[in-house]
């Protein structure tokens, strides 16, 4: 085993000097959406990316999942260079985007109809998969809502179902793009705890893009602050609050200090 392979197994996600321009004209003009991204994420680490809107956070997500290829540099995920959509990740967005003609259960099962090895077993093992989906729904507080249609659920419940859909195929990496942005403050805090519990239990990697600083500090191991276009990481802040974290922690001075410090960095970026 070479030295690099060893490095790769240690770091689950490894961005090495990554630049991205959205098309060739922009590349010729040296106009990059994100630039000089260097990032190492350990196995099972929960990272959050915060920054002003339009700073390339979503671009970063597309790079990580292989939906976009970098113009320069390379990206390794799980020891392999990313050269197309990874099948080991799940995604959820601000809009739950559930399919209205499918029940909640069938919505959650959708990834299993697409990704191998589940796809070829889907008909034979349907009952088993359904049991698994029902179990997962129950763990986020949606027990008994399997047969309801998405439009019969509240916004928070739809978002829970959307996170279940991202997790049903047991991905090694969960990517969340402002998943709680459209929810009210109370529902949002409830869902923080749901996500915390799922992550504690299953130990997948999480990349959370958000502009809620309290959310990032409460949930993540490491918070990265991104500058506005072209996006680059300007601050890396390790969150050393002890785990397991309770919502109470958000009212402690230590928590407020970190949030305040990050807020200072964002303020500095906005002024520059």
């Amino acid at each position: 085993m070479s030295g690099q392979d060893l490095m790769a197994t240690e770091n689950f996600v490894d961005f090495q000097d990554v630049w991205l321009a959205y098309n060739e004209e922009l590349l010729a003009e040296q106009h990059f959406a994100v630039e000089d991204i260097n990032l190492q994420v350990k196995q099972g680490e929960f990272i959050a990316i915060v920054g002003p809107s339009g700073c390339g956070k979503s671009t970063f997500m597309k790079l990580t999942t292989g939906l976009r290829k970098p113009s320069r540099g390379r990206i390794l995920v799980d020891g392999r260079e990313v050269d197309g959509p990874l099948k080991i990740s799940g995604m959820a967005f601000q809009a739950p985007s559930l399919l209205p003609w499918r029940t909640t259960l069938d919505n959650v099962l959708l990834p299993l109809e697409i990704v191998e090895p589940y796809r070829s077993q889907f008909k034979a093992k349907r009952a088993e998969f359904e049991a698994r989906a029902i179990e997962l729904l129950k763990s986020v507080g949606l027990g008994g809502y399997e047969r309801k249609f998405p439009w019969q659920l509240s916004g928070g419940m739809q978002q829970r179902a959307s996170i279940c859909r991202a997790l049903i195929h047991e991905p090694k990496m969960l990517l969340l793009d402002e998943p709680f942005g459209a929810l009210d403050a109370f529902t949002r805090e409830e869902l923080w705890c749901t996500l915390r519990d799922l992550w504690t239990e299953r130990q997948f990697n999480v990349i959370l893009v958000t502009h809620d600083l309290r959310e990032s500090v409460f949930l993540a191991d490491t918070v990265y602050v991104m500058s506005k276009s072209p996006g680059r990481f300007v601050v890396k802040r390790h969150i050393d609050l002890p785990r397991p974290r309770d919502l109470e922690v958000t009212y402690t001075p230590a928590f407020s200090d970190i949030v305040h410090e990050l807020r200072g960095h964002i303020g500095a970026i906005r002024k520059s």
């Binding site: 597309k62 999942t65 292989g66 939906l67 197309g84 959509p85 990874l86 099948k87 990740s89 799940g90 995604m91 959820a92 967005f93 809009a95 985007s97 399919l99 209205p100 003609w101 959708l110 990834p111 109809e113 697409i114 990704v115 191998e116 249609f149 439009w151 859909r165 991202a166 195929h169 990517l175």
Partner: protein, 255 residues
Amino acid sequence: MKQKTLERWAPWGLLVLTLVLWQTVCSAFQVSEFIFPSPWRIAQQTFEFKAVIAAHAWRTFWVTMAGFGIAIVVGVLLGFVIGSSRLAYAAVYPLMTGFNALPKAAFVPILVVWFGIGVGPAILTAFLISFFPIMVNIATGLATLEPELEDVLRVLGAKRWDVLIKVGLPRSMPYFFGSLKVAITLAFVGTTVSEMTAANEGIGYLLISAGSAMQMGLAFSGLVVVGAMAMVMYELFSYIENHTTAWAHRGSQEV
């Protein structure tokens, strides 16, 4: 509940009201039946010529359904192609819009040259006039997929085809059924217009011959029959629409 019953009977009430008013005007001013026949006169003539009208109506009906059937097949296929490929959309759409702007009645003489007098021109006119809304609606349903949803699936390694089958097609079904309602009424227009100049049978032919024989009551009953057939078919597709894609109409059903 009371509001709902009222809504259901409202169109019938309006129909009766219109007929009564029409009859009153015709009787009161003694309008000549060769100019503007009264509803009663139309009813009498419809009854008198019921066998003839039925034969012509049947012809118009099956010809329309044949044209409409072709329109569904062609409309869905074309819509699928241009809705699933941006290049095809860019290439086909402007031409189709131009084509749709042409009056379809203008095609009838050309179709007569190619296919002769009879069912050929009528079926094709019905088809030409009714495939466009079907195509546009299928294409719109496919082309307006939410990008986030596409990303969710592509991250899992879904191919374009998977996305089309799992999301695109079911998503465009309400658009499709919606377009059938519009298309079926257009198809009746196409058939009737074509029959007026290029057939010896059908309601369109009946209208022309009744008109030239000054049988105004009969001409009007021809119109009534076409209208009734189109309305029945419209309601049929509306019923199918509501019972297959209820998820898209939940707002109106909950009221």
